[in-house]
């Protein structure tokens, strides 16, 4: 049974929760925490309904809810999910309650504001993934910046103010150019469709007919905004600052979900809307992706701060996703989609674990640790598990995504060179080096730092947060088809839209 209001509930529930919080006395910390958790948990449960009601055999948008929002401009409130967005929606609703639980003891001041902003952020993120109208998409895309900005700025580390402003300005710069491109596209559409529209299912038909020269510019305007978010080398400089300064919950959401918005945007908008330009730019973006893979890994290797190391590993891992997208084969695109989820799980887990240990010792310097395996066995095991998942050990989730991407890029006709695969594959080796080396320095050996004695292991709450993540890590690693089949039809459709724009347009018109 398909209930068209489900997605709207998903968007509204966290928002209602956020405003419900305003009526709770700010002294009642646990009431606030439970309210936040309650609303995000309900949101997760509803997203499961969406997932189980989703029809894998169709590449069309499902759970569509549409009504006219701004009449004069033909702007619709138009939401729906397909095989690409449903996984990301689930990732969002899955991670948000976990991050709220994880910050149970680490956030001690202004708890009400914190929970308020986390819930607002969840609304924004879900909105980004389900919007099928560019105007609506843009509203969520930008509005989401506000809560993230506060989360970094209020609860962040020492350099939080600098990091928050840098994060805000970088993202804003990219997205405002996208705004101009959106308007241009809508005006262009009014020329050929006869009415002004920002509905992407309509724009899928007309946008590919734009002359190639203009497509290139449009692609860049959209692409810049997404590339900053991903972040693609050399636009990544905001990321280490924001990730390191953000509180644990902020880093998890940033790495887990926010970065995916960039790659999601490339798949949802850039490829289908500007196919000619996508083919033209594919090698260039792939080169940047490969540089990002290697650069991120090399920089991660020399970090002395664990959180920074994980942050740079994101640059490297997201490089794989971008490579997968621009290789434009069935395998690579599906690999990219699954790798987005993988990265959300494994990097999310790593950030959570760094947060766990930081809460106890107040240091993230690798040199301050050593030999904690005996002191905190649960932690040591969890860190091992998350690291191996991030490295891409066969049997765990990271392997599936990276393997599919490498396979797809190897036989990609668009890239037409196996050098991409060769260089990208080196990133897998580097990942093993920097993560295992960090692991060795932190966990093995003798306890050199006397202040580490008496370190407490993970408590039940912290273990409870990790377990669901680990379940999915193993699940995707052993039986990925559960998730691959969800994105299969949608990936095929996106590739089809790139290679056969005219045919797709015709098909879409006939389907109407």
């Amino acid at each position: 049974m398909e209930n068209s209001l489900l997605l709207t509930y998903l968007i509204l529930l966290p928002l209602i929760g956020a405003f419900a919080l305003l009526f709770i006395n700010k002294e009642k910390a646990s009431a606030i925490r439970y309210t936040g958790l309650f609303f995000s948990a309900i949101t997760f449960i509803i997203s499961l309904f969406v997932y189980f009601g989703f029809d894998h055999s169709s590449s069309d948008f499902q759970f569509i809810h549409k009504f006219e929002w701004i009449q004069g401009l033909n702007v619709y409130y138009f939401v729906g999910v397909d095989g690409l967005s449903i996984l990301l929606v689930l990732l969002t609703t899955f991670l948000t309650p976990l991050t709220l639980i994880s910050s149970w003891s680490s956030i001690e001041h202004k708890i009400k504001e914190f929970t308020f902003f986390m819930l607002l952020l969840e609304t924004g993120m879900i909105g980004v993934f389900v919007s099928l109208d560019l105007f609506l998409f843009y509203i969520f895309w930008e509005a989401m910046l506000i809560p993230m900005y506060f989360i970094i700025g209020i609860w962040g580390g020492k350099e939080r103010i600098y990091a928050a402003i840098k994060f805000f300005l970088y993202t804003m710069f990219g997205s405002l150019l996208m705004l101009v491109a959106i308007v241009w596209l809508a005006v262009y559409a009014s020329g050929s469709l006869g009415y002004f529209t920002t509905d992407i299912t309509q724009l899928y038909k007309v946008a590919p007919t734009i002359a190639r020269d203009i497509q290139l510019w449009m692609f860049l305007a959209f692409g810049l905004s997404f590339a900053i978010k991903v972040p693609l080398f050399p636009l990544h400089t905001w990321l280490p600052d924001a990730h390191v300064q953000a509180p644990t919950a902020g880093s998890v959401i940033l790495a887990g979900v926010l970065l995916k918005m960039g790659t999601y945007g490339l798949l949802r908008f850039n490829l289908p809307l500007f196919p000619d330009a996508s083919l033209y730019f594919a090698p260039y973006f792939s080169i940047l992706a490969v540089i990002g893979i290697i650069y991120g890994a090399l920089v991660a290797m020399v970090q002395t701060d664990m959180k920074k190391l994980v942050a740079y590993s994101s640059v490297s891992h997201l490089g794989f996703v971008v490579l997968g997208i621009f290789a434009m084969t069935q395998e690579s695109v599906q690999g990219a989609v699954i790798q987005m989820i993988n990265h959300g799980l494994s990097t999310g887990a790593l950030f959570l674990l760094v947060g766990v240990i930081y809460e106890r010792t107040h240091t993230r310097e690798i040199a301050d640790y050593g030999g904690i395996a005996k002191l905190v066995p649960f932690f040591a095991f969890s860190l091992m598990f998350a690291s191996l998942s991030s490295i891409g050990l066969p049997g765990l989730n990271g392997f599936v995504g990276e393997f599919l991407i490498l396979l797809g890029s190897f036989k990609s006709g668009v890239l037409n060179s196996w050098w991409f695969t060769v260089f990208a594959a080196s990133g897998v080796i580097f990942a093993a080096v920097y993560l295992l080396w960090m692991y060795q320095r932190v966990v093995f050996g003798e306890v050199k730092n006397p202040s580490l004695n008496g370190l407490k292991d993970m408590n039940a709450r912290e273990i409870f947060v990790m377990i669901p993540i680990f379940i999915f890590i193993v699940w995707i690693g052993i039986y990925p088809s559960t998730f691959l089949k969800v994105s299969e039809k949608t990936s095929a459709k996106i590739i089809h839209q790139v290679f056969n724009p005219e045919q797709t347009a015709e098909k879409l018109i006939n389907n109407r």
């Binding site: 009449q71 509203i139 209020i154 928050a164 402003i165 405002l176 101009v180 241009w184």
Partner: protein
């Protein structure tokens, strides 16, 4: 004067305000408690006039010997003026008490200035524009210096008067040239003769001079010099009125007088002028605002930069542009009123607490005020889902439809710059702890005014269609 009673009804918004002026003057003469009576009386007058005009949008006619248009978008302007003025009156009640600077003419002048604005928005004749402009400006000159005990207020009034008079000179000169070539000051006559006039160099010079004069009034670069000093010196409530209703009035005058040119070839001469001052205003305003330490000066430069965005709509010279300007003016008025409102609430005696540093840590001490001020800052910065974003969006649509994509791109670049200084206030309020406590007097009416503005800013952002459809259908 009136041909029938309906025409009289159509002009009721103006009549209400005009009658209000007379009654208020009488009250002020005979009552000892005029301070309390007049504030609420003016609010009543403004709201009556505003809501009457909002509910009679259909009453479109041209009255008073082709001098004044009524109904349609003119009434939307009336609503913006009167509603802004009402909000300013709410704010003034406690502000004046705080400064202990009540002068009988304060509320009366506010009403005369609004009457002037209304005459400008409805004008069908250059003389009417001039009449309205002078009624408004003279009231403004006095209002700027109303707190005559303060030296800065006097300075501000004098500066405003001298530069304003200078600008009026340009406008009169422009009108003279237009009259000389068209043998009429009526827009209708000018429109019919337009094809022969559009080639006439004297006529175009007149139009350009007219525009330059108004560039002063809307605070566009390079005619902005008075703005920071006047905003800083004038009482915060009055500065709020200048930057919202005053600016909206000047734009309404430009719109009514330029509307006829849009379909003709004359725009090819005016568009470059408008584009250039638009780009310069946007960038100058945003960049210089970064260097300000006084919040009123910062808002003054922000107002210059917003004038730039509004001029994009004029340069686009299509109906989307006009609709965009009107929407933007409404959005801008409410967000700026909110910002000035909070400034006036936080401001202490003797111009204390006006430095940006006074806002340090406000998020902890005054959570409500800080949250509302952040909302206004995000809206001014053009971040969705607030009204300011939608205003910009619509202006950009107009620009791109008019093939002025480059102007839209420069517009967004300047937006990015402006985000920096708007956010800096948010940073100060939330990300720092306050070292010193500042005293803030409670003001219930002031808070109410700010609250109304905030609700309007959110509503116009989330449901922009409600106002936009009105504007489009009555354009």
């Amino acid at each position: 004067m009136y041909n029938n009673i309906q025409e009289f009804y159509n002009t009721l918004p103006l009549v209400i305000v005009a009658a209000g002026i007379l009654i208020a003057t009488t009250i002020e003469m005979y009552s000892k408690k005029s301070e309390n009576i007049l504030s609420w009386f003016s609010i009543l007058i403004f709201l009556a006039s505003g809501f009457y005009s909002l509910f009679t949008l259909d009453a479109r006619s041209v009255v008073l010997q082709n001098m004044l248009a009524t109904g349609g978008y003119v009434n939307i302007f009336y609503f913006i003026f009167t509603f802004s003025a009402a909000i300013i009156c709410f704010l003034s009640i406690d502000y004046i008490k705080k400064y202990d600077a009540y002068f009988g003419e304060y509320y009366i002048l506010m009403q005369t200035s609004v009457l002037g604005m209304m005459l400008m928005a409805g004008a069908k004749d250059l003389f009417m524009i001039f009449l309205g402009l002078e009624v408004m400006s003279v009231s403004f000159y006095v209002l700027a210096g109303i707190n005559r005990k303060r030296l800065t207020a006097t300075e501000s009034a004098l500066k405003y008067f001298l530069l304003g008079a200078f600008a009026t000179g340009f406008i009169v000169y422009g009108i003279a040239l237009i009259y000389g070539t068209a043998q009429s000051t009526s827009f209708e006559v000018i429109t019919t003769k337009f094809s022969e006039l559009s080639g006439n160099l004297l006529f175009l010079t007149g139009v350009l001079l007219f525009l330059i004069g108004f560039s002063f009034k809307i605070a566009a670069f390079p005619f902005h010099m008075w703005v920071p000093d006047v905003y800083q010196g004038a009482p915060s409530t009055v500065a709020g009125l200048f930057s919202t209703a005053g600016k909206a009035a000047a734009f309404s005058a430009i719109i009514v007088s330029l509307f006829v040119l849009f379909t003709s070839g004359a725009m090819r001469i005016i568009t470059p002028y408008l584009s250039v001052i638009s780009v310069l205003s946007m960038f100058f305003g945003s960049i210089v605002a970064i260097a300000q330490t006084n919040i009123k000066r910062m808002l003054a430069y922000s107002s210059i930069s917003h004038a730039g965005y509004l001029i994009i709509g004029l340069a686009a010279s299509n109906t989307e542009g006009i609709a965009g300007i009107i929407f933007y003016l409404a959005a801008y008025s409410f967000m700026n009123l909110g910002a000035f409102g909070i400034v006036s609430i936080i401001e202490g005696k003797e111009e204390a607490n006006l430095e940006l540093n006074s806002y340090r840590g406000l998020g902890t001490r005054q959570p409500l005020l800080a949250a509302l001020l952040s909302l206004f800052m995000f809206s001014l910065a053009g971040i969705p889902p607030f009204a300011g974003f939608f205003g910009k969006y619509y202006i950009f649509i107009a620009a791109i439809e008019a093939k002025l994509t480059w102007l839209a791109i420069l517009g967004v670049l300047s937006s990015v710059i402006s985000v920096y200084f708007y956010l800096r206030l948010v940073v100060l309020m939330y990300f720092y702890d306050s070292s010193e406590q500042i005293e803030i007097e409670r003001s219930n009416t002031g808070l109410l005014a700010v609250f109304i503005s905030a609700i309007l800013v959110v509503l116009l952002g989330v449901l922009p269609g409600s106002l936009l459809n009105l504007i489009i259908s009555y354009l």
